[in-house]
């Protein structure tokens, strides 16, 4: 059984993610210990909350450098979920301009309503439109609905990083990838069957 390190940095719905990993046949390890993270087969960076707080909590635990070492140098598969995806960026703007992990080029901006009906936060089920093939979406058709709950979005420097987009306040990047590093704006752990399929695909990497 593969051990998946779920980073505990005080920001989030860790239990939901751990339960979903377990349901997918993985061995979830909720931890902030660099030694345990280094032994894991893959890493999930979950997160709910504001960008500035998230970075502060990661740095306070030295997890920013652990992530660089594991994901960039050792190429361990890394999945950022929601705030965890946003923290992969160079820069965030929630709670003041803040430097991010810089693992995937881009910055995090607030969603801007494009119609009077568009309400922020973006809460609910919305389509994920695939822009290219990606192992995370194996067996998941384009335009499948996933569950979102967020007010900010990842604005990539380059379109090549974008795996999928979602039509809301324009078409924001809902899945990004750089080699073994992935980010999803939606919550796979709360997206029922398609969500669990995506997590199984991640565990299989």
């Amino acid at each position: 059984m593969k051990t998946v390190a779920i980073l505990d940095y005080g920001m989030g719905n860790l239990d939901s993610v751990a339960r979903a990993v377990e349901e997918c046949g993985g061995n979830p390890l909720v931890t902030e210990d660099p030694g345990s993270i280094a032994k894991a087969a893959s890493i999930i960076l979950p997160g709910v909350g504001a960008f500035a707080d998230g970075m502060r909590e990661l740095r306070a635990r030295g997890l920013d450098s652990v992530l660089s070492e594991e994901a960039v140098e050792k190429k361990i598969p890394l999945l950022g979920i929601c705030l965890g995806m946003q923290l992969l960026a160079r820069k965030g703007n929630e709670g003041g301009e803040t430097e991010g992990l810089g693992l995937i080029g881009g910055e995090v901006r607030r969603l801007q309503p494009d119609t009077p009906e568009a309400r922020i936060p973006h809460i609910g089920w919305n389509e994920v439109e695939l822009e290219c093939s990606c192992p995370l979406f194996s067996g998941i058709p384009s335009n499948t609905d996933f569950y979102f709950v967020h007010s900010y979005h990842f604005y990539p420097d380059r379109d090549e990083a974008v795996v999928a987009r979602t039509p809301y306040c324009g078409r924001f990047a809902s899945c990004i990838q750089r080699e073994n590093i992935f980010g999803v704006q939606f919550h796979p752990e709360k997206s029922q069957r398609p969500g669990l399929t995506l997590l199984r695909n991640f565990l299989a990497l």
Binding site: G12, N13, L14, D15, S16, R19, A20, E23, V48, G49, A50, D53, L83, P113, E117, R119, I120, P121, H122, I123, G124, W125, N126, E127, D145, Y147, V149, H150, S151, P167, Y168, H187, E189, K190, S191, Q192, R193, G195, L196
Partner: protein, 252 residues
């Protein structure tokens, strides 16, 4: 396109699920765990779970029960009842709630909305507004499961909650609750026109067309309902069929 959510509401009281009329006359409707398992299997869009006596009895949320049901819930779960502090909110999120519903505490200490939103993000802070019509054109917010009146107008309170950082409003009509006579569309529309955050309509759904009215006329982003699913043969899945036929985007 963002889908309109259909949300079964589970009311928890003394170890089981109940459903009442006008926030009173509670009837038992089964076990929480069983209901969550069924709704998870049927892939409903989201669940709202409210402990209706926690605040009245001065109890904190029942974290152990929430932990158990959240483990069976691979769908979004909003939990409320008895949340009085940032620490309560943190504990609920830790055991698997995705959103925290603030009711009485949001009225009594508006700073709590600000603190929860700042710490966990606005998307976690659902403000439950229970209201009653007390005279022609006069509506008031009630707390403590509908037992305590306030001077607050629900539309004004919704605006204030949004300013404080609320991410969503759960708008519940006390007199429509359990009557299955239709939502209070006028109040829903007044609130959706006044705020830019999503509003969940609640209280009064008795048939599928009532759900459609809350969306088409009330402009609700989501519709919550309990009696219709507990006491009739109507299901969330068929509700979606109906809404789809009325041109409303739903998840299939």
């Amino acid at each position: 396109m963002l889908k309109v959510r259909i949300i079964p509401t589970l009311l928890f009281k003394d170890f089981g699920l109940v459903k009442g009329v006008g926030f009173d006359s509670w009837r038992r409707v089964g076990s929480a765990m069983q209901a969550v398992k069924v709704y998870n299997m049927r892939e409903v869009d989201e669940l709202v779970f409210l402990d209706i006596t926690a605040t009245r009895d001065g109890r904190p949320p029942d974290f152990a029960t929430v932990d158990e049901i959240a483990d069976e819930c691979f769908m979004p779960l909003a939990v409320g009842g008895g949340v009085r502090s940032v620490e309560d909110a943190r504990s609920l999120l830790q055991v698997g709630a995705d959103k925290v519903v603030l009711g009485t505490a949001a009225v009594e200490s508006p700073d709590l909305i600000r603190e929860v939103a700042a710490r966990f993000g606005s998307q976690c802070a659902v403000i439950s507004i229970d209201f009653r019509r007390i005279g022609p054109g006069v509506r008031r917010v009630f707390t403590h499961c509908g037992t305590t009146g306030t001077d607050l107008d629900p539309v004004e309170f919704a605006k204030q909650a949004q300013r404080s950082g609320a991410g969503e409003i759960l708008l519940q009509s006390i007199e429509r609750d359990g009557t299955m006579s239709g939502y209070d569309i006028e109040t829903i529309r007044a609130v959706t026109d006044a705020v830019s955050i999503p509003v969940i309509a609640s209280g009064g759904a008795g048939n599928y067309e009532h759900l459609a009215e809350a969306v088409l006329d009330g402009r609700a982003a989501a519709v919550a309902a309990a009696s219709i699913f507990h006491f009739t043969q109507q299901t969330p899945r068929e509700a979606k069929e109906h809404l789809g036929q009325r041109g409303i985007p739903v998840r299939r």
